[in-house]
Symmetry: none
Subunit: 218 residues, 2 copies
DNA sequence: CGTTTTTGTTCTACTTTAGTTCTTTTTTGC
DNA sequence: GCAAAAAAGAACTAAAGTAGAACAAAAACG
């Protein structure tokens, strides 16, 4: 349908008009698709207009409109994206470190937007993740220790038995195993020194599921 | 679609109309977008009317109406995409994954050169590191569980109390806490079901010190 | 009401930015 | 290695933006 260059240009035009609200100029386009002369852009745009992907208001500058987008990506683009994905596999990703969460007595999970935690991309593929620093020993029984960093996948539902970040009464967050019992929810610590909390389901919100754990010794 | 100036003016008109309840005058607009003459504003407005972003009630002053605004992506999405790009630049380091090590009965640390484990660079800064997969439960007491991956810093000496990879009789490697007692060395599991091994120092070689731990839950 | 002030429109002249067309060069695929 | 396609580059045309002034129309005001 489209050549890779045409596809790439069309996507760039679509993206920038949506992001900035105004159409890019030919020079901006040539930089974006990696050409050194805008005559090439002209040819690509003519082709896209002819195929009815773009419309241009005649005798106007910066006046292109995306008519439609192709359903299929050119195979060259698909291959390129696969390569990018592979590159990501060897890259690191920063996820927000939202602060400390009690594995003992519950405290608020403080949302400090500035702190970041770096993890391998594979750990956080497909989904939104954040990190929390464990404070307390209530989950010691399953090897989650004071000072560990846990990586949480955002979710608002969980299976019975999952370790979840649970928000109680909209003000205190805690890491516990969850178990549903009819209209009630059990928050189960993994340390005999702590007691299971039994709460009406309405007071408990799941904010994420434990996905990984990282501990540094020295 | 729009030129940058047109976009800026449209946004200004939209904003002030909503905030003050009445449309700004041409002079206010020229100050807002940084022009010194309002004739330019006139031209911009004509262009916006022509593109159907504005409507003006004829023979009225301060009588512009915003018909529509260009569709923008939510800024959150824009920011997220930018972050993804930046993530590509973040480097990860691959360290050898030497195979499974018993945290229970000792087995050989199999040196499989091909397997790699990716970790954030910060975790393995300054020193040589390798990864091992934990098999067994002998270190459960300090939160090192079956299936965990531990990151070991190469070293041939250790402090009392360190968790080390110890090679016994040059053939079996195991992860244990180490303690020196005169001519002997104690290898201490952290699970009451296992017994402390007491060996002459000559039979035990330290091959590394536990540095970090990574656990994946799902 | 008519006068003053504010506001909008038009015109000219000019600069900058953007789009088009053409020729030459490079790349690509048989 | 040759023909076709793609890209680069220069030269040109067109549109957008800038500025100032003159003027017309609408709003404000006593």
């Amino acid at each position: 349908m489209l050549t890779p260059k045409q596809y790439k240009l069309l996507m760039f035009i679509n993206k920038t008009t949506k992001e900035t609200g105004c159409c890019p100029s030919f020079d901006e386009m040539k930089d974006a698709v990696g050409l050194k002369s805008k005559s090439g852009i002209y040819a690509l745009i003519e082709a896209l207009v002819e195929r009815n992907f773009l419309r241009k208001l005649p005798h106007k500058a910066r006046a292109l409109e995306v008519v439609r987008l192709p359903k299929l990506k050119p195979s060259a683009i698909v291959a390129e994206e696969k390569k990018k994905e592979e590159a990501l596999l060897n890259a690191m990703v920063e996820i927000p470190l939202y602060g400390k969460i009690a594995a003992g007595t519950p405290i608020e999970a403080i949302a400090d937007e500035n702190e970041k935690f770096s993890v391998p991309y594979e750990m956080v593929r497909g989904g939104q993740y954040y990190a929390l620093k464990i404070e307390g020993d209530s989950m010691e029984g399953i090897g989650i220790l004071n000072g560990d960093t846990v990586i949480i996948k955002k979710a608002d539902t969980a299976q019975n038995g999952d370790i979840v970040v649970a928000l109680v009464d909209n003000c205190e967050a805690t890491l516990k195993q969850i178990k549903k019992e009819g209209p009630e929810v059990l928050l189960i610590p993994k340390n005999d020194a702590y007691e299971v909390r039994r709460l009406p389901a309405s007071r408990v919100k799941v904010q994420g599921i434990l996905s990984s754990l990282v501990r540094n010794y020295h």
